[in-house]
């Protein structure tokens, strides 16, 4: 698999990153070298290996359904770039 300029911009956009034109070449070569390296894994025969989704052996970390009050509204809003004491405020999302 090879990343071209178009897919680079698409991936950047999905992550809300801005890649400047002068950064594109370096970014492409580094992404492609990572992918090439990862592709070596494809050479391994995984026919009888179960997919590994988690690296710990832990399963079923569950909590009982109990309400434990957490932070206050003021604390929750504290770090927001914009808020009005009740709501988080963001640039309008619908036209």
């Amino acid at each position: 698999m090879k990343i071209d300029q178009e897919s680079l911009q698409k991936i950047a956009h999905l992550a809300r990153l801005e890649v400047k034109p002068e950064e594109e070449a370096e970014m492409l070569s580094s992404l492609n070298s990572v992918l090439t390296w990862m592709e070596e894994l494809n050479e391994i025969d995984t026919e009888n290996v179960k997919p590994l989704t988690h690296i710990t052996l832990e399963i079923n970390a569950l909590r009982e359904d109990k309400v434990i009050p957490s932070i206050s509204r003021a604390e929750g809003l504290f770090n927001a770039p914009k808020q009005d004491g009740e709501y988080f405020r963001v640039p309008k999302v619908v036209e």
Binding site: P69, R73, K92, E95
Partner: protein, 484 residues
């Protein structure tokens, strides 16, 4: 639309029904899920998606999803994990939604729906667990959207049907059945107005017999069964008209406007269709043992269709009655409780479907708000069965009085208001004799064959008894006296 054109097309509908699970706390955090709290008061660092926080799964949410799966005959997945669905939208604080993409908790299953054309099972593709998003408010004239994260992290089950629903009616019936079911199971309050149950609808049309589905359109976030039906009806006509005039259907998300009854394309700033799912590393896998499934099964409440059958088989009620009485779990329970005090099942059914339900409807009350206990209602039924009062006296005079004074028994009310029917034959015979003596001419006519006069004599006796004469006894005595 011209029926001939309409009949050329076949409709394909798939639904995604989201039901908020009635847990106290959120699916991955301990903050409350209660509806209607002041904005951003049910939040925590986990809900807000702060770095370094660790979600932990709510056991009850898992059990509720298993309960649903067992009720609809799904296979419960033994090995599950959660996945991240990545997209940016302000109501999603983490930049991803935790959901189950690869290993949904329930596979398959289905719900029976009753249609004008018969019964049909709508099958589920799967049911999965996920977290709800927050709520955005868009104020007229403001350049900001307001975000309330109280709802973020509320547990949801998403029920995804196979694309095999064929009409708006079928879709509406299906959602009605699902809503009834989750309420019976006590896993979701089914309150569509508050958004506890919401539905995304996928609609497409194709020529009858075609093997290839048409381009589908998704109508999002429908929160009323009537709107679902209307939106689908509108969309079917719109799509057929477009195809007939050689326009292309665009695959898009559309909104339904209840005011106009139309759907319109959403002007989204971005199409969000590249979710880049991957396994959620913060939550260890979930393994469901057979013992766990059995323990959920053992706590399973009665299912609506089981009660429906029981009401027909055991209580010998007509299908219509069984349908009305099992419409909600609460009504069904009230009925069952009533018949634990009386063997007159049909009378109990008539009372609950009639006087009780109309009182609740007129006053916009739920059966849980209803003051007359099942035991009291059974006493009233007994009073009628004993011939002490007529049915109409019971429903028109005693029942309203019972509602006014919950401490009095029906018998006390009947006695204090002088409503006990005269079934004492001596008293009644005296009245009858008087009536016959006063109407000698009519008695002669009766004896000459004008049998229809019986009703007139009945009326006279009733009048004399001030309505308290037992009609059955009176009728027998009256006929006997007239035949002499």
């Amino acid at each position: 639309m011209n029926q001939e054109i309409r009949d050329k097309y076949e409709v394909v509908i798939g639904l995604e029904v989201h039901a908020q699970l009635q847990t106290e706390s959120k699916i991955f955090a301990a903050d409350a899920t209660a509806f209607g709290a002041a904005p951003n008061t049910h939040i925590s660092p986990i809900t807000l998606g702060h770095p370094g926080t660790l979600p932990k799964l709510n056991k009850k949410a898992v059990e509720y999803a298993i309960r649903l799966g067992l009720a609809v005959g799904s296979e419960i997945s033994k090995y599950q994990h959660f996945d991240r669905k990545n997209y940016f939208y302000p109501d999603l604080p983490k930049g991803y939604q935790i959901t189950q993409d690869k290993t949904p908790i329930c596979i398959g299953g289905g719900v029976k729906v009753k249609l004008s054309t018969g019964e049909k099972t709508v099958r589920f593709h799967h049911i999965h667990l996920e977290e709800d998003a927050g709520k955005s408010l868009h104020q007229e004239g403001s350049s900001d959207s307001l975000l309330d994260y109280n709802r973020a992290g509320t547990p949801l089950v998403e029920m995804v049907t196979e694309p095999e629903i064929k009409s708006a009616e079928e879709a509406a019936q299906f959602v009605t059945e699902v809503r009834k079911l989750v309420r019976y199971l006590q896993i979701c309050d089914g309150n569509m107005e508050e958004g506890s149950l919401r539905c995304d609808v996928n609609v497409s049309v194709m020529l009858v017999g075609s093997k290839v589905f048409g381009t589908k359109v998704e109508i999002k976030n429908m929160n009323s069964i009537r709107f679902i039906q209307k939106a689908i009806e509108y969309e079917i006509v719109r799509q057929i008209e477009a195809i007939e005039s050689d326009e292309k259907i665009i695959q898009e998300t559309r909104n339904f406007d209840p005011a106009t009854g139309r759907t319109s394309g959403m002007r989204e700033k971005e199409s969000m269709n590249d979710y880049r799912y991957f396994a959620e590393p913060d939550l260890p896998p979930l393994h469901i043992s057979e013992e766990w499934i059995q323990s959920v099964k053992s706590q399973m409440p009665a299912l609506p269709w089981e009660l429906f059958e029981k009401f027909i088989q055991h209580y010998k009620l007509p299908e219509y009655d069984a349908g009305v009485l099992t419409d909600t779990r609460e009504i069904a329970e009230y009925f069952e409780s009533t018949v634990s005090f009386t063997n007159n099942y049909k009378a109990a059914s008539n009372w609950v479907m009639g006087s009780v339900k109309s009182f609740l409807n007129e006053n916009s009350l739920e059966i849980s708000d209803f003051g007359i206990s099942p035991a009291r209602l059974a006493q009233l039924i007994q009073l009628v069965d004993d011939g002490k009062v007529s049915n109409s006296v019971a429903s028109q005079q005693i029942f309203p009085e019972m509602l006014l004074d919950l401490t009095k028994t029906p018998l006390q009310i009947a006695e204090s208001k002088n409503l006990i029917q005269q079934s004492n034959t001596d008293t009644l015979q005296t009245l009858i004799d008087e009536v016959l003596a006063n109407n000698e001419a009519k008695v002669k006519e009766y004896k000459n064959g004008k049998k229809g006069l019986l009703a007139m004599f009945m009326g006279e006796v009733m009048k004399k008894s001030k309505g308290s004469a037992d009609p059955k006894v009176t009728s027998v005595l009256l006929q006997k006296s007239l035949e002499n």
